[in-house]
């Protein structure tokens, strides 16, 4: 091994160790930032090491790519608001998938029929996963950014068609491994992967996005790991596997939080058929006035806020914090109950509330907050619906039966902030809204909360 190769390999080795340490740092908010500095340093030395690679003969295009990428990266990193994190994450999965797929294509073009079975297999996985991630994530981005409708897009024979499509891509993959010389097969596989990515995400509704984003995260990581196999590069395998594993763990957690299987999320087209079926249960919604709510909150001992995606769309996180500050100054105990699938990506609500300066010691997970509900005077539901729907607990025939919920209906009083009388994203009726304990405060969540804060402040 020459000194140069030794140095390059050394930087990769150090980078691998630093990446693992940085993820270990993420186990606690206090150590997380320091951990990320390690990862940044690891990345830097790996890039410096790579620039010394003997295959690199011209730097101008590399530098152009690095500069353009950094400019766009800094712009995205600084400019993206926290409410847009789900879209931005989907977009970055698309870039990750694209980069992996392109390196795969280029490697295939370079070596063609001289590739061994192992390398063709690795390249095949790389291009398949990269392609699916690229287009799938673009569709997820379009749905989250509301460029296309968030509702599932379904048509007859969809699942059969998708299975056939994926099946043929896989058959071509096998054929390619057996005879790597057939470039046409390779292109056909790329095209099918790109098409499959689009068709896979189209039928998935906006409310299921946490699972899909996590799953695409997993694919993007595995595509990077496959790149590592194809190039014989360990740091790529390690980083890709960590990313893939993290996405996989998150998608399992999200599925558990909805009591559904991954297959059901991917092929169930949730919320399209059930919407019309359950119109049976109707009741009277009790509308409450702003002043009533303000009085209730002001004289409560314990208040729990339960945010959902509606808080993000209304940009109401700062207004919540403002109201909480007024309550706390009156000696009210304030907590936040966060359901794992509240919002459009894992951890979405936590980030928004942290941005609004809510200390994380007040953010409680589902299992932690439920035992406290019985002693809660007022539970305030802000733009959440399915995650507080008691049907999931009480009605075994419900489409969301068995999904763990935040049991706000056990609190002494429930206030639901809602834009209108409509149903949630799953299209299910929510009996919570008709319970005697529940009062509804209609209107834009941000406006309502701001006015509530003012009203509490005057009491």
């Amino acid at each position: 091994m020459s000194t140069q190769t030794l140095f390059i390999e050394g930087t990769y080795f150090v980078a691998s160790v630093l990446f693992i340490l940085s993820l270990k740092g993420l186990s606690h908010p206090d150590t997380a930032r320091r951990g990320m500095f390690l990862a940044e340093f690891g990345m830097l030395i790996a890039i410096v090491g790579t620039l010394l690679h003997r295959d690199i003969v011209s730097y101008e295009w590399v530098i152009v790519g690095l500069l353009v990428g950094s400019t766009i990266g800094v712009w995205l990193g600084v400019w993206v608001p926290m409410t847009a994190m789900p879209q931005r994450t989907a977009l970055s999965h698309a870039f990750g998938g694209l980069a992996a797929a392109l390196v795969g294509v280029s490697e295939f073009l370079r070596h063609g029929e001289h590739l061994g079975t192992f390398k063709v297999t690795a390249l095949g996985f790389e291009v398949l996963l990269g392609g699916i991630t690229f287009t799938g994530s673009l569709v997820a981005f379009a749905k989250l950014q509301e460029l296309v409708k968030g509702a599932p897009i379904v048509y007859p024979g969809q699942n059969v068609g998708n299975f056939l499509l994926f099946g043929s891509a896989f058959v071509i993959f096998i054929a390619l491994v057996l005879s790597p010389g057939h470039t046409i097969l390779f292109y056909a596989m790329c095209a099918l992967a790109l098409l499959f990515g689009v068709l896979l995400v189209l039928p998935i509704g906006a409310a299921d996005m946490p699972v899909v984003i996590a799953l695409l995260n997993s694919y993007a990581g595995l595509a990077s790991a496959a790149t590592g196999f194809a190039l014989g590069n360990n740091v790529l395998i390690i980083a890709g596997t960590l990313d893939g594993g993290s996405g996989f763990i998150l998608s399992i957690l999200m599925c558990k939080a909805m009591n559904r299987s991954i297959t059901n999320v991917l092929f169930g087209a949730f919320g399209s058929a059930t919407a019309t079926v359950e119109a049976g249960e109707e009741g009277v919604m009790r509308e409450v006035s702003l002043d009533d709510v303000a009085t209730q909150l002001a004289y409560a001992r314990k208040v729990v806020f339960v945010p959902g995606y509606g808080m993000a769309t209304a940009q109401a996180q700062n207004a919540v914090r403002e109201l909480a500050a007024h309550l706390e100054s009156r000696g009210v105990e304030v907590k936040y109950g966060i359901h794992p699938v509240a919002g459009r990506m894992p951890g979405h609500m936590n980030v928004l509330l942290a941005e609004a300066n809510v200390p994380y010691s007040q953010l409680y997970e589902l299992e932690q907050i439920n035992p406290e509900m019985a002693t809660t005077d007022v539970a305030v539901v802000i733009g959440a619906n399915d995650v507080v729907n008691p049907e999931a607990r009480d009605n075994p025939k419900s489409a969301i039966a068995g999904m763990p919920i935040i049991e706000v209906d056990k609190a002494k009083s429930v206030i639901v902030l809602k834009r209108g009388r409509g149903k949630g994203f799953s299209g299910l009726e929510n009996p919570l809204f008709f319970k005697p304990v529940t009062g509804l405060l209609f209107g834009d969540a941000k406006t309502s909360l701001t006015r509530l804060a003012a009203a509490v402040g005057e009491l």
Binding site: V68, V78, M85
Partner: protein, 99 residues
């Protein structure tokens, strides 16, 4: 070639186990920063793209490589900036009110 495969598989399986142990200890509180951090880290595929872009194997390779370098760099840079922006916001106790 088989040695390469075996070595790669060892690394893959060990990284998967280690990743599982480390990542299951990340609290749900930090799941969004986790996703953005792993995204940035898997942008390490940049090093494969850099070689493809700079090696002058052929024109197509260079073009694909430069696009890949750009895409991966976007992920690395924006991923790390955003992760840090998010992690900065998580405070244990009430900070001074920012107005």
């Amino acid at each position: 070639m088989n040695e390469l495969l075996m070595a790669g598989l060892y690394v893959f399986v060990l990284a998967a186990f280690l990743g599982y142990q480390v990542i299951s200890r990340v609290p749900p509180l930090l799941h969004t920063p986790l996703m953005s951090a792993t995204n940035a880290i898997s942008g390490i595929s940049l090093i494969g793209s850099i070689v493809t872009a700079g090696a002058k194997y052929n024109t197509v390779s260079t073009v694909l490589g430069v696009i890949a370098v750009t895409a991966a760099t976007i992920n690395v840079v924006s991923g790390f900036i955003l992760t840090d922006r998010m992690l900065k916001m998580f405070k244990r106790e009430k900070g001074p009110e920012k107005k």
